[in-house]
Assembly symmetry: C2
């Protein structure tokens, strides 16, 4: 494999993780115009402002009615990067969340010491890997079924490890999770009795609420989640079992969970980048998370300008996930991304006189940040138009 | 990074390419039940029947009214795998197509000697890599603008290389391509005069026609493409410039281009796998490509069965592209995949009595094969329920 950096030895790049064997699309010091495309760009000034804003918001919630132990545990499924996770921890996060064992491995290998797998882990191979990891880091995981709790316990006992276990309750998303109330309390009791497991509290995440368009819809959804988590916690405590934490929330709702006084950890992840779908939330509702800024872009190159009203760029399905809509085009007035094929994106230009020639670079805002990041091997960190950092997407992949 | 194969030395896997440093989700000889998930499964019997069927179809077209020089040049954007490309060439393909320089590098590195980049290549770095590759393999590429042709020529001259250049004409897809007729003939004349370039003929691919639902719609679209390509060829030949080939077609239409007598190369790629979207074409129209079989599946694990009517599996947006709809569930009567989040897929079970427990494996047919393959690092080749081959997706990535 030819390395576009000019070196034929990709292994010389001194970084960890799965993506590190793939050449990066830029070199430190390159101007943005020299970055090869498609590339995932992090505008570092905006990124750092998002880091600082979230830290300030969590501190303010802690000081004014929120849980006095409230901490941020940002979701690293968004970025899968130990480099970014380390910056979140340095800004005050207690640790991070991930969804997959492979992501947990990438983050622990990259130096992160406190990781919650905010998901069920199923299968002998994955449970053995989780147990091995629990011997090297502060690890926690979710369960929603006694069979899974027993298999997890057996894997921990076999490895001589112990893990904190959160009972996941379905607070309205209709995905995983045991029903709130008695079934959740019964499962907590089973977990507390199993060797190798420590009952760590409740996972109460309302995924579908994150993308509801209006503040009122999100308030109603989270009020329901808080009520379910609170009553479940009371039932478990009535059994004499302490409930050390209640964890959940995302970028669309974290201020609601944070203000509840019930949640002790907030799992917002997308705040660090935002995306076009969250921007539509902001536009629809004057959302309170409007202070966060887009810091993540896909850099594209114009490959063809067949007619004045159309330009074709090199970012299609394989460089930008379209599950939450197409990317937006923030820098060119009247330009919109109107069609994707696997390796092409079609831009419609309302102002055909716009100067956009073959070879020109265009910044796109991805429709949905998490699955778009997963298509790339590198973040290219840019400040004042120059490449300052190259961070591998170390936990990239389907997550087996 | 822990290797789920039980080895900590991923580099010991004796294969080439970008993905080879990522652990595979299985070992040779494993039963399907032991393959870790999410995994991309190739059912080798069906795959080999697809290979043989396409070879027979092209031979039959060549013998009965098609271009006597007609050859298959399957599109490797579907699989990005030298292992699969080699099997296509062994079955009679003249070479393969790709869309990106990075894919061409992966295939040439993997031993494929004749590669058409069926796309425009833009930018100094990519053109230099293309020129370096043209010194090692029979390479061809498309242009649709004189500026790009001149930049390509300069890169070839600088490297002391020569490349075959196809003029891409827009035959109705409204993506890249110079207009058919006089503008295309003028560009062919310019290409023929530039050093380092050999005019190789016409790229006349109608991408959007591949997914039209009925045979009649596809016939009308391809009749238009054939007319445009034929008149353009005549204009170029009238200038005294030979037109060595006309290339195009995909799995949805290749029998129409093949029967035209005009096309000398067919670029069908998806035929090797099919997908749920092509299956909907078959269902809608009794399509003539109905003899191809699904050979590609995503293997998922049930992570949660919160209520009898719902199971949640570990395949979401990060393991299955949803740009052409959700996966289908071929093996479980009454089951449908009704919702994806990044790392989860929700299955609705019309027959709640179905035995589907946490840990059970489920085969899914991807909605769209190409971008789904791009989410994975390995193909797991299976025959009679056992793993027989592990092929890396060597050209995986956004394609910079």
């Amino acid at each position: 494999m030819q390395n576009p950096n000019g070196s034929s030895d990709a292994a010389a790049v001194p970084v960890l993780g799965r993506s590190a064997s793939v050449p990066a699309p830029a070199r430190i010091g390159d101007p943005l115009s020299e970055v090869d495309t498609p590339a995932l760009i992090v505008e570092l000034d905006a990124f750092e402002r998002n880091l600082a804003r979230m830290a300030a918001k969590v501190a303010a919630m802690r000081a004014s009615g929120g849980n006095p132990a409230l901490r941020l545990r940002p979701h690293a499924k968004t970025h899968k990067s130990p480099d970014i996770a380390a910056r979140q921890v340095a800004a005050g996060a207690v640790g991070v969340c991930v969804q997959k064992v492979a992501e947990a491995e990438a983050l622990v290998d990259g130096g992160i010491t406190d990781v919650l797998v905010s998901n069920e882990v199923v299968g002998r191979s994955k449970l053995a890997r989780l147990a091995a990891l629990a011997r090297r880091a502060t690890l926690s995981v979710c369960v929603d079924h006694p069979d899974n709790a027993r298999a997890l316990s057996a894997a921990m006992v076999a490895a001589g490890a112990t893990i904190d276990v959160l009972v996941e309750i379905d607070v309205g998303a209709g995905r995983c999770g045991v029903p709130a109330g008695e079934p959740a309390a019964a499962l907590a009791q089973q977990v507390a009795a199993l060797p190798g497991l420590r009952f760590g509290g409740l996972q109460a995440y309302h995924g579908s609420a994150q993308h509801l368009r209006t503040v009122a819809e999100r308030q109603q959804a989270i009020a329901g989640a808080v009520a379910k988590a609170a009553s479940t916690r009371a039932l478990i405590e009535a059994l004499g079992i302490p409930v050390p934490k209640v964890t959940g929330a995302g970028t669309g709702t974290f201020e609601l969970e944070g203000a509840s006084g019930l949640y002790s950890e907030l799992q917002a992840g997308s705040y660090i980048f935002l995306d076009a779908d969250y921007a539509r939330n902001q536009a629809a509702s004057g959302s309170t998370f409007a202070e966060f800024e887009h810091s993540l872009f896909i850099l594209a190159t114009v490959m063809s300008r067949p007619v004045p009203e159309r330009a074709v760029c090199d970012v299609g399905h394989k460089a930008s996930s379209s599950d939450s809509g197409y990317p937006t085009v923030p820098d060119i007035e009247g330009a919109s991304y109107v069609g994707a094929s696997d390796e092409h994106g079609v831009l419609r230009l309302e102002r055909p006189e716009v100067e956009l020639a073959i070879g020109d670079k265009v910044r796109l805002i991805p429709g949905h940040c998490d699955p778009t990041v997963n298509l790339h091997d590198w973040f290219v960190g840019v400040r004042n138009g120059r490449v300052e950092a190259l961070w591998p997407v170390s936990g990239r992949g389907p997550g087996f």
